[in-house]
Amino acid sequence: MIEVSQLRVAFGADETQTIAVDDVSFTIPEATVYGLVGESGCGKTTILRCLCGLNRQWSGTIRVNGKPVGPLRDLAFYRMAQMVFQDPYGSLHPRHTVNTILSEPLLVHGIPDIGARVSRVLAQVGLGESFRFRYPHQLSGGQRQRVAIARALILEPRILFLDEPTSALDVSVQAEVLNLIRDIQVEQGLTCVLVSHDLAVVANLCNRLAVMNQGKLVEELSVADLMSGRARSGYTQRLIAASAGYDRALVSLDSD
């Protein structure tokens, strides 16, 4: 469904140029969840932004649904691919009610029957009608993220980009949102690209993942391999060990 080939993103010019994404290639089959994992600055979010059309300065090839796409996307693309952002407190317009936020994509694409669709998608994410006319500051973090997911789903896309969807949420709320994402993905056969720094979340939702470090794709592996520790790269092994929690014996203090 998504093919990325030799993607390269560089910011700045000449001496001060930083290469955020360095020659990355991967393929994502339809109806699977693909994880992009790494620490901050590794380029995973940059790749996601290139895929969804927010970042327009890249070189290489991106093919979505068999067709190559350029930096500028058309409405048909946006109908097919939507994004859920990380920060539930920042991704909803502070002065729009939930109803306005959810109606906006439909208005942009000229889709009729707005009222019914909004009701349907609210029910889909587990929020009742009572939430329809509230403002974002009246909602909790988990509720806001559900609205963000609803907004992504209302256009009935086939691809969903998720940028750390639960990292800003409380632990107890995270479980609900992860379950919701899994249910919707299975039910609608969505192709998802999930960016996360949390290997446990990736193991929970994804089928395959790519490990990134400083712009380079370190390795690609299946979640089964991840779980059984069959990672080939030392960096991946370090990430897996780090996600298990603190163990003084395992930390070597090579100073900074």
Partner: protein, 287 residues
């Protein structure tokens, strides 16, 4: 003071905030003790864990009120100290490490000077002496080239190094207790473990008590010696970190069950069902 007596004891701490709808109690009567060990306080947002740390240092936001039956640092009664007396406690006997060094370090001062200043505030020392001490502390937090880092500005250091600098700054006056409020939440996973290891070593060798406030149950249970779980302003569970999986309170068990784990794969996560009785039902006294 023997090495077994607690460094900090708190009894029945309450913190309240005025709101248009009446006073909201963020902390509703908690009691605990910290000795020369690492005590973790875990809770979600709104549980009152950060307010606890600030209440001990009397650094609550304006308008907030706190009452406590007794609060002692060693032999000193913290509750009865005035603001000017608290100045001799903050930084000198109790230090606080905050979450993001981007915001807690002065952006227009070189980091070395900030550490030296932390020393001179509490000890009479010349500038040269304070700078020497600062360089020593930078080496103690395992920074390879202390002299070079000394003259850097906060925006020139990475997150992990910034947090080490924060630790150096907080440890230089040789406090008895450190309150760390989400000290590694803003750091990458691999850097996090290094910073914790440094903190671990320093706290153990110097016999400093550590109060580690976090939302990360996994991290706290693997790093600390004892874990206190807070919910709605009260401590609902306290146990040694190693026995956390045998926790008794349904909130703790629910939290543990709802965490995704690498080894569980695509398992559907058990959603925590909040029971309203958890807010007010009596909690068994500490074991």
């Amino acid at each position: 003071m023997t090495s077994n007596s607690p460094i900090l004891t708190v009894e029945d701490l309450r913190v309240g905030f005025p709101t248009p709808r009446g006073t909201v109690e963020a902390v509703r009567g908690i009691s605990f003790a910290i000795g020369r060990n690492k005590v973790g306080i875990v809770g979600e947002s709104g549980s009152g864990k950060s307010m606890t740390g600030r209440a001990i240092l009397k650094l609550l936001p304006g308008g907030a009120t706190s009452t406590v039956k007794s609060m002692k640092l060693g032999d000193t009664d913290l509750a009865s100290l005035s603001e000017s007396e608290m100045l001799g406690i903050r930084g000198k006997r109790i230090s606080m490490i905050l979450q993001d060094p981007k915001y807690s370090l002065n952006p227009v001062m070189r980091v070395g000077h900030q550490i030296a200043e932390a020393f001179r505030v509490h000890h009479r020392a010349s500038r040269a002496e304070a700078e020497e001490r600062a360089l020593e502390m930078l080496a103690a937090v395992r920074i390879r080239d202390p002299r070079r880092v000394f003259s850097l500005y906060p925006h020139e250091v990475s997150g992990g190094m910034g947090q080490r600098i924060m630790i150096a700054m907080m440890l230089i006056p040789e406090p008895e207790l450190i309150i760390a409020d989400e000290p590694t939440s803003a750091l990458d996973v691999t850097v996090r473990l290094q910073v914790l290891a440094i903190l671990d070593d320093l706290v153990t060798t110097r016999g400093i008590g550590l109060m580690f406030i976090s939302h990360d149950l996994n991290l706290v249970s693997s790093f600390c010696d004892e874990v206190l779980i807070m919910y709605a302003g009260r401590i609902v569970e306290r146990c040694p970190a190693a026995e956390l999986h045998q926790a008794k309170h349904p909130y703790t068990r629910g939290l543990l069950a709802s965490l995704p784990r690498l080894e569980d794969g695509h398992k559907r996560l058990r959603v925590l069902e909040r029971d309203p009785s958890w807010r007010d039902e009596p909690i068994p006294a500490e074991a």
